[in-house]
């Protein structure tokens, strides 16, 4: 059983450039992901912002690891880093890779998050707490937003 990574594939009925923009434009990323980012994604730099959902009051931060236009976008972050008193920067981040591939119907997006084996003690318990606080609510919020857009 692989406990270190998780991989998702999804077919999107939108052209590759459209999906690329939704991933790498920080405003658009924030709209579906649910974070108000203060600066654009820049290779090698970190970007941060507050999570925008009710019940969440913490900062989200990620560092851009790779940016190969319309092919590969790669972020490193500290999942479930919800306690402002903890300095997460000393912990090994997980890596998130978004791979885009053109298919007849639009774009095949593969998302792979890896590095869970190195998540330190306590983070998993926080993850469960966080989930209970409302990832499901969060999804509903965004669906509402998209419906109104």
């Amino acid at each position: 059983m692989n406990t270190d990574s998780i991989e998702k594939r999804i077919e999107l009925k939108a052209p590759v450039p459209r999906v690329w923009r939704a991933l790498t434009n920080h405003i658009e990323f924030g709209q579906w992901f649910g974070v108000k980012l203060e600066s654009p994604f820049v290779l090698g730099k970190s970007t941060a912002g507050m999570i925008t959902h009710p019940g969440f009051n913490h900062r989200w931060e990620a560092v851009v690891q790779k940016m190969e236009p319309e092919k590969l976008f790669c972020l490193a972050w500290h999942p479930f880093s919800i306690d402002p008193k903890i300095d997460y920067s000393k912990e090994t981040p997980t890596l998130v890779e978004f791979r885009l591939e053109k298919i007849p119907t639009g774009t095949l997006l593969t998302v792979r998050e890896s590095g869970f084996d190195k998540i330190p003690a306590g983070r998993r318990a926080e993850a469960f707490r966080m989930h209970d606080n409302g990832w499901t609510d969060q999804m509903t919020n965004i669906e509402d937003y998209v419906a109104k857009a």
Binding site: M1, D4, I6, A22, W32, L109, D117, P120, R124, I142
Partner: protein, 122 residues
């Protein structure tokens, strides 16, 4: 007293943290595979047909025992190991959570890219 991190109650998720690295090894996964078929097996039994030495098997079993995936019980001169599967469920539960989180986020992305761009507000 000032250190909170080692005081996780036994059986809680924080207490299970090393489980993930314990599972990140091919030999250990194979051992779990053998033991998960049930019953108790000795070290020599487990080493049989494996390219790994008895010493290495012993070391791997000890790591698995520390995280509670297997339990060794002495019988005479041998130690017999059996699979104690509860921690697997917790590791799986965590990955299920991460997996659900991605399903949700990607569903939002899908709506976002498929519906938002071309639409002009009335």
């Amino acid at each position: 007293m000032s250190q909170r991190r080692d005081t996780a109650p036994p059986g809680s998720l924080p207490a299970r943290a090393p489980l993930f690295s314990a599972l990140g090894d091919g030999t250990r996964l194979q051992l779990i595979g053998s033991l998960s078929r049930g019953g108790r097996r000795s070290i020599s039994d487990l080493a049989e047909g494996s390219r790994v030495t008895r010493q290495a098997i012993t070391k791997h079993l000890r790591i698995l025992e520390e995280v509670g995936l297997v339990r060794g019980e002495r019988r005479g001169r041998e130690i017999l190991f059996r699979f104690t599967p509860k921690p697997i469920d917790e590791a799986r539960a965590f990955l299920d959570l991460v997996s659900r989180r991605w399903d949700e986020a990607l569903a939002r992305l899908k709506s976002f890219v498929e519906e938002a761009p071309a639409k002009e507000p009335d």
